[in-house]
């Protein structure tokens, strides 16, 4: 029993932390896609956030400032995407790819001198008493602030999308941009704001990796998490609650394979490291095969170019 407690507690805790960056990035992208825009540049925006967040936190000693800077960096990358796709009507798929390629290069360039430098942890927000509960105590209440912020974002995004007028307008724009325009809604402006939000969320997701999870800066350190976040949005069928489920699933797979590696099983580590990517393909397949469900839930204007005069 006690052995199980010793094993399970840290596993649960690690799962929550591994899920956090995916949660931020996927929730951001979910809002973007609900407005009818497909931004494949999540990975690039995360890298920008990771490097800028790390640099600012390391220079100022304040991880809060680091996260704010990361959000701004992600937002700036989102703005770039928005200007190209919404202002200049560029193809969203191509622009998203460009944003990722650009983010990889830019973050590597900017972060050159910062590779391998240490940084102290974010001061953890602890809830006295509860932390001392066995098994679930440290897992549920011993995490740092960002983990809770990420969890809080799930109901917040849900509330925004489905209970506020602004959320209704955003969904309407993603569903039928021509009709929204005819009713007088500023399609481009609404989408731009959504893209900025998605950028900021990706930036925070990246900074969580470089400031809390690792914590250090390395080139390409996101290792495909931006793409996994994109897959999670499809998996969630555009529902915030299911994003949380998906993020935990991936957190679980990631941590499970790390633990198996750590316990010295005879399986080569590279093959175990494939698991999160293979799991992504698996859930994507499982959810996409239900065409009717995707059609009912996917924003009808996703990825389509909008110009008021046609």
């Amino acid at each position: 029993m006690s052995e199980v407690v010793v094993f399970l507690g840290p596993v649960l805790a690690a799962m929550l932390t591994a899920a956090t960056p995916l949660l931020f990035a996927a929730l951001g992208e979910l809002v973007v896609e609900k407005s009818g825009v497909l931004n494949l540049g999540v990975e690039g925006m995360m890298l920008a956030g990771a490097v800028i967040g790390f640099m600012v936190a390391a220079s100022t000693g304040s991880s809060t400032l680091g996260f704010v800077a990361a959000a701004v960096a992600g937002l700036a990358m989102g703005a770039l995407f928005g200007v190209l796709t919404l202002g200049l009507l560029a193809n969203q798929v191509a622009t998203g790819l460009a944003l990722t390629l650009f983010g990889v290069g830019l973050s590597a360039l900017v972060g050159q001198g910062w590779v391998g430098r240490p940084i102290q942890d974010v001061p953890e927000l602890r809830i006295p008493g509860l932390t001392d509960l066995p098994v679930i105590g440290p897992a549920l209440f011993g995490q740092d602030a960002l983990v809770y912020l990420g969890l809080a974002m799930v109901p917040a995004v849900h509330w925004f999308l489905f209970s506020t007028r602004a959320g209704l307008v955003l969904r309407a724009v993603g569903e039928n941009h021509a009709a929204a325009h005819a009713l007088g809604y500023k399609v481009v402006r609404i989408r731009f704001l959504a893209v900025l939000f998605g950028g900021a969320m990706s930036g925070i997701a990246g900074a969580y990796l470089s400031l809390d999870y690792t914590p250090m800066w390395a080139e390409n350190m996101t290792a495909g998490r931006g793409w996994i976040a994109l897959a999670l949005v499809v998996f969630s069928t555009w529902k915030p609650g299911r994003v949380l489920l998906g993020a935990w699933l991936f957190g679980g797979v990631t941590i499970a394979q790390l633990h198996v590696q750590g316990h010295g099983f005879a399986v080569p580590s590279q093959l175990l490291s494939m698991l999160p990517y293979l799991a992504t393909i698996l859930v994507l397949v499982a959810i996409s095969r239900d065409v009717a469900r995707i059609r009912l839930n996917a924003p009808a204007c996703l990825g389509k170019v909008f110009h008021p005069d046609g």
């Binding site: 021509a178 009709a179 929204a180 325009h181 005819a182 007088g184 809604y185 009808a300």
Partner: protein, 517 residues
Amino acid sequence: MASPTPRLDLRGITKRFPGCLANDHVDLALLPGEIHALLGENGAGKSTLVKIIYGVQHADSGTLHWEGREVTISDPHAARRLGIGMVFQHFSLFDTLTVAENIALGIEDKATSLKDLSVRIRAVSERYGLALDPDRHVFDLSVGERQRVEIVRCLLQDPRLLIMDEPTSVLTPQEVGRLFETLRRLAAEGCTILYISHKLEEIRALCDRATVLRGGKVVATCDPRKETARSLAEMMIGTSLSTPERAAAAVTGAPRLEVRHLSTTTDVPFATELKDVSLEVRAGEILGIAGVAGNGQAELMAALSGETLIGDETAVLIEGRPVGHLGPRARRELGLAFVPEERLGRGAVPELSLSENALLSGYAREPLVRSGIVHFGRARSYAERIIDLFNVVTHGHKAEARSLSGGNLQKFIIGREILQRPKLLIVGQPTWGVDAGAAAAIHQALIDLARGGTAVLVISQDLDELFVLCDRISVLFHGRLSPSTPSHQTTVEQIGLLMGGLFGGSGEDEGEIGRVA
């Protein structure tokens, strides 16, 4: 009539688009409580003018006066705040949102909760006899119900000017009657109604005054009740109309197309399932299929063209051969030609040239491809032949399909299919959104084709068109097809009742009507 202050007075409205002058110094005064028709052909500038009134577009010059006061309508929010409501031709609704959410998006009152709004929706819809359930999703509604959503959305704001853009093109004659009652009642309460249409009989039945647009200019203002449909049409077109000549019911030959007990299932949302559809088209005759959009037309077209395959291959036969399992290419090779309802985006690729669009369906029956290599020279001369024979107005075979007007593109597509000498031609909405000149030419071409021995099947919502063209007419409703009636033995009213679902004696269908009504 003493001249009260007009509710809305447009003076010298001009709007230019690249390559066309949509509105040229248009003057229009709308009086309180009148039902005013705005009449004109497709492309005459009606839609642009009402979009300017509703703030969707802005005039290059000219002024708008609202109840005697000059105003600038910067966007639809401003229009709604003045008291202008609009029911769009292509509904401005959101399929996956509920009725209440759709209505919330179209009103200016941002404080009301959806719950309170639902109560108000029920009250207004009861008052005007427009039954609506606020909690249903729009994709679940019939076309008539969707229009009701738009109307109730306007009524909730106590409009003083209601714009209706081609509101009846998707309704059955009986639904049109109910709509007119509502409009008359609104006008009696003092609301001004601007009614846009090209259906002349309707305008004569409903409107107090009519303004006729042609080529972006006001060419006449009249009392439609004192005009005939013919005189109104001549004002609209500017020349006298030629009605297509129809040969006396030709001698019909062997069946070219037979459909036997065709049923389809679908797991796609918003689609209609076909239920036990049977029909037959013989060489030399034209069969018409009437019905309100969304009753299975798209599914029937796809099942006949081969875009969806059918499990039972004998459900569709071309010249007695089972083809249910064959795709479009194989069916074309057997002599089927096909004109889809969606011209740009299905019948033609917008970004490709006319030559390339000639190749799109021409490859199956014309010698345009040899051992996998395209003969572009032949595709070009094929396109030029179509352009010549069908009077397609364009600057040549290199023009992109999207640069053609609706009527000219339709002439090109119909020409492309007819020149393949088909044994069987299926046409969806042959003249939807096409100007009168092109429509007459298209009708004549279809009649000539049938007289030459081809079997023709026309699927259309336009009953006038079906009565001009067809030897027999059937009606599609909720995926079921009525037996056909010779068109000289039936009337628009009878077909209209069938379009509303009144098939003889089928209790199940009556249940469904109960829901619609």
